[in-house]
Symmetry: C2
């Protein structure tokens, strides 16, 4: 296609030639795994796609009520969407001690315990993780897909951070490519949707609200309902569709802007990787803070030790302890991070999420202030400084 | 505000200074009726705003299930949204014999009959009308607002066609201004939301998905929930917000582009008015078609006579009779209009909706072909041409 009129409505699934470009992009990304543009739907950011698919999947009451497996910690879009749709939230906990890896046994435990109470129908995975920043191994993805195949679960793979992988020993594996390599019995049967967005990666064009989803093995009659559902809102914003088109059509080697493009892209991703390491290092130098490596995405999600007296004070103020921590941090330093309780965390543990997006210079200053704040906070709430927690001791051994 | 970065997320309610500009625009439009920018929310087109408000209002089961009054014929976003949310659709019929005016007694009838079965909570009005093109009188708006006040109904005023008024004897009256003029008892109590959009008017920038809503007298705690709901999708597309900003900030008299702006705006609206008259005239020249004046919006919604044999054929093919008509029109002429059954209509009447958007030259050719088709259709399905319906006879008297 030569030109797209951004001022006009498009088809509800998105502009046809952009959908074709997306399919070509996916085929190239997955080294030849076929992608059919009829399975591509452009969306108003990834959030809109996730919401549309959940709407299609959720139904029923009582023990027939749809259950959806979501990671804990999770990006709160999922819990908000499930609450809005009145679906059952089935929590599977990511393993903080293994860099927030998805543990297949924990997934099975969550599934089996929920099966008594509802009808589990879908499984959400965020890879690379938000807020946890982990990058899933190929083996783990295989296990998840095998599990989904066995239990007939619809897999929702939130892969918006697919370009944001920083650790040298981690690689992004798309759920689709792994499914393909598991053979036709899997590739032709497992229902899978993958979401992508213009808002992350090395462009970060989040104001345009652009995105796409690729839907595999969805029943044709359900697909008809999906198109009907999308049609009610007419179409995704066309400038956002155009932005998605640009992202899936980067300059090619023979093109004049290629060298400049590669230079800028590498620079953006290299700086992000540098900031991921910097953040982890400085956070881990603070007694009472423990941070997993930021393997991907744009966030650190460190665990913080909160002294019992601070926990008591938070309870007295009807506040989550990490909310008290974050509010104090904001008031005392102007730094805004998000309490872990907004994402979910194992009972009795406390975290916050911070982005690695500020410049390295700003980030260094910011982390320095955060460190000072944390030490002051420990001091303020320690009981004569005599008490110490297991996490505290653990940190001492760093 | 000097500049807005379209590539970044904005606040979920929209960019603050654009909300301020919208409030100033409304104050000016309504000749001084105050507008508070804290009541303005930018949206992803009007559809998204309508959906968000309905989500807030709909709840309950059995006789507690929320009922929403919608006009028939209506723009199908409303019926689709209510079905999606599992709310009760309460139909009030617009009066075709009075240029599709809203009849307050019919509204009361619909309300009272529904009250037995559900809990009516909201009242939707589209003014100027879609698909019916009528412009509501000030007196009628007063009656509607008085009724909403008495019955404690949340008024949803879809005013996206506020700039599209063509008949010399019609004027756009905003629900808000009329409410204000009814006095403080009304203005401080009736819950009212008005929707506007970048997609209509004299700009028609529908691909940007820009819009706003102004919310009056909403309970502060409900407003908090509204912001929470909007936050799940992060923000409306920022280029669409910028387009809305341009529309509410037209060039001023002292500015260099003012003369050009007025020339283009007048030209666009004059041509639309000309096409509104042309469409009505040509349609009414066809035996078996009767079209109300297109007072506003962008559509004609003529009533069509469908011969009994065509009705039988449609039934045999499990199709609405006007769907059969529209499909045949499409197949034989390439002209695409939408059957009235998609918008709702009184039992036993048939219509179609067509836009008046093609150029006058194209529109003349199109209406000529439509006329030929209609005569052929009547001929084809008449039983030896001997039968005649009441509408048929009525048309003969034109």
């Amino acid at each position: 296609c030569v030109c797209v009129c951004v001022g006009s409505y498009s088809a509800s699934q998105g502009v046809e030639c952009i959908r074709q470009h997306v399919a070509e992009f996916i085929t190239e990304r997955d080294q030849g795994v076929p992608s059919d543009w009829n399975n591509i739907y452009l969306t108003t950011g990834a959030s809109d796609g996730i919401m549309s698919i959940l709407k299609l999947l959720v139904s029923g009451e009582g023990s027939g009520r749809t259950g959806v497996l979501i990671p804990i910690p999770q990006y709160p879009l999922y819990s908000a969407a499930l609450s809005e749709l009145d679906a059952v939230h089935i929590h599977y906990y990511l393993d903080e001690d293994s860099c927030w890896a998805l543990d297949i046994e924990e997934l099975q435990r969550a599934y089996l315990s929920a099966k008594q109470l509802c009808t589990p129908r879908a499984l959400c995975i965020i890879n690379p993780g938000n807020p946890t920043g982990q990058v899933q191994s190929k083996k783990c993805i295989e296990e998840v897909l095998h599990f989904a195949y066995e239990e007939n679960l619809f897999v929702m793979a939130d892969e918006v951070y697919q370009d944001n992988v920083y650790s040298a020993d981690c690689h992004f594996h798309s759920f689709k490519k792994v499914l393909y390599e598991m053979g036709p019995e899997y590739f032709n049967n497992v229902e899978l949707v993958s979401f992508h967005s213009t808002s992350k990666g090395y462009t970060g064009e989040c104001g345009f609200r652009g995105g796409y989803m690729e839907v595999l093995n969805m029943d044709p009659q359900v697909k008809e309902q999906l198109v009907k559902l999308l049609s009610v809102r007419l179409c995704p914003p066309v400038p956002g569709q155009a932005a998605m088109d640009v992202i899936v059509n980067p300059p090619r080697e023979h093109e004049p802007s290629y060298a400049q493009f590669i230079k800028e892209k590498s620079w953006v991703l290299d700086v992000l990787a540098q900031k991921a390491r910097l953040t982890e290092q400085i956070l881990n130098s603070v007694p009472g803070i423990k941070c997993n490596p930021v393997q991907g995405a744009m966030y650190a999600f460190p665990r913080i030790f909160i002294p019992p007296r601070a926990i008591q004070e938070a309870k007295a103020r009807s506040m989550a302890p990490d909310m008290l921590y974050c509010l104090k941090l904001l008031e005392e330093t102007g730094i805004c991070v998000i309490p872990g309780s907004g994402f979910g965390q194992r009972e009795g543990t406390y975290h916050f999420r911070m982005t690695i997006l500020p410049s390295p210079e700003k980030l260094t200053v910011l982390l320095g202030k955060l460190k000072e704040f944390h030490l002051r906070f420990l001091e303020e709430y320690s009981q004569e400084g005599a008490q110490s927690s297991s996490l505290h001791r653990e940190e001492g051994a760093h």
